[in-house]
Point group: C2
């Protein structure tokens, strides 16, 4: 049996860095999803095996709390482990570090669905509950659980964007990371030059498909920013919320 | 002395794949730029050393001719080498393959500039012309040179986009790969489901900065598509061409 904690090495690719030479937050979060994917595939409950039994993981919530963003060409390791596994949800944590630096911690909540019916599935029934053998409840992840993100009432439309070919990933809908990029694009480089990202919580609610328009509504309260993304289809003006994020800067 | 040809291994990350599970062209081209960067840094004429002498590489043209796009999780190698080095330009080639598959070939033209004056610099004077020792003129790259891309006269405005935080890279202007993504977003998933990308040539002419608007003009002629990207600033309606691309589908 493999270790409960998996460790994967990444590099802050130079062209994945922002104008200050820090790894762009979207690319950083993408590394977390890769680590989750490698860890679960290596242990027999990843999407490779799930595909054969019509099951799929769905990312429900993600939060990352930054201490320091890796700089261009820096190598870093992502430790990832399953903190707990219930019937319909599992909590997965991340610690991102090098030998002498703690860059960040992350937490995430994943649901399992039946990929044919799109209904919730029992993740403890996969491989006779194999995931439970990998639960690592002893290791501490010293940040708060990912928030459901409750929007303040004063939100206002910030922008509306068309979804494009490059937004859509292998799952056929807008990539989880692309939401983070679109949301963080609401701030300008001048802002980022003066304010480091401290924490982002994102709660995924529904899917956005190609051709949908996505409107981002922004609010602020108590030194935090809140963004709600809503999709609309064709000529239908009705909007469906697809995700909510809470963003805190230093 | 290192080999003239450098080989670097990459993986088609699952969330860098499009809705068909093929590596997205932008991410594929980004791997080429990484390989170029690693190769030149390893050999002493990369941006790490250049930064210390106020020099920088500028990508002037890039073309990629696809045989097959790597699928999610596929590993592939990029061989890259310098085909020739003149005073102001160098030609760098790419062969992208695994043990049993040739995925693509690429060619590129790079200029060197003085990073303070932004004027062309003599790349043969760097480290006493060290780059010349690495010229590999014997290896064949079996695709045509990258085109200057001449626009047909029938081009029409296809879209205008705002440049955002995530478009801007460590160089402070729109990332070379982001142009490719914006250009290829002019086609819809339905189109990609029926047409594989065969070749893209892109000629970079000027830089786009944060806050610029970018308008894409599209034309077709002789089974090829042509796209010209033009930037405009603030309330100034005058447009400056920043790049041109020729796109061929199978």
């Amino acid at each position: 049996m493999l270790d409960k904690v998996g460790t994967y090495e990444f590099i802050a690719e130079p062209f994945h860095c922002d104008f200050m030479g820090k790894m762009a937050p979207g690319h950083f979060c993408n590394a977390l999803l890769n680590a989750a994917d490698y860890h679960s595939n290596d242990r027999g409950f990843g999407i490779h095996y799930l595909k054969t039994i019509d099951r799929a993981w769905v990312l429900s919530r993600l939060c990352v709390e930054m201490n320091k963003m890796p700089l261009a060409y820096q190598h870093f390791n992502i430790d990832t482990w399953v903190e707990s596994a219930m019937r319909h949800f599992t909590l997965r944590n991340f610690a991102i570090h090098s030998s002498d630096t703690v860059f960040a911690y992350g937490r995430s909540v994943w649901a399992m669905i039946d990929s044919v019916t799109r209904q919730p599935a029992d993740l403890l029934s996969v491989n006779d509950g194999d995931i439970a053998r990998y639960v690592e409840s002893g290791r501490v992840c010293p940040i708060e659980q990912p928030s459901r993100v409750k929007m303040p009432t004063n939100s206002a439309l910030a922008t509306t964007i068309d979804t494009t070919y490059s937004d859509i990933d292998i799952n056929g809908h807008v990539n989880s990371i692309k939401y983070i990029e679109h949301i963080l694009n609401l701030w300008q480089p001048d802002w980022y030059a003066a304010h480091e990202l401290k924490r982002i919580d994102i709660a995924y609610v529904a899917e956005t498909h190609y051709g949908d328009k996505m409107s981002l509504y922004k609010a602020d309260a108590n030194d935090c920013f809140y963004v709600s993304a809503k999709r609309s289809r064709g000529n239908n003006v009705e909007e469906t919320e697809v995700c909510r994020a809470k963003v805190v800067f230093k």
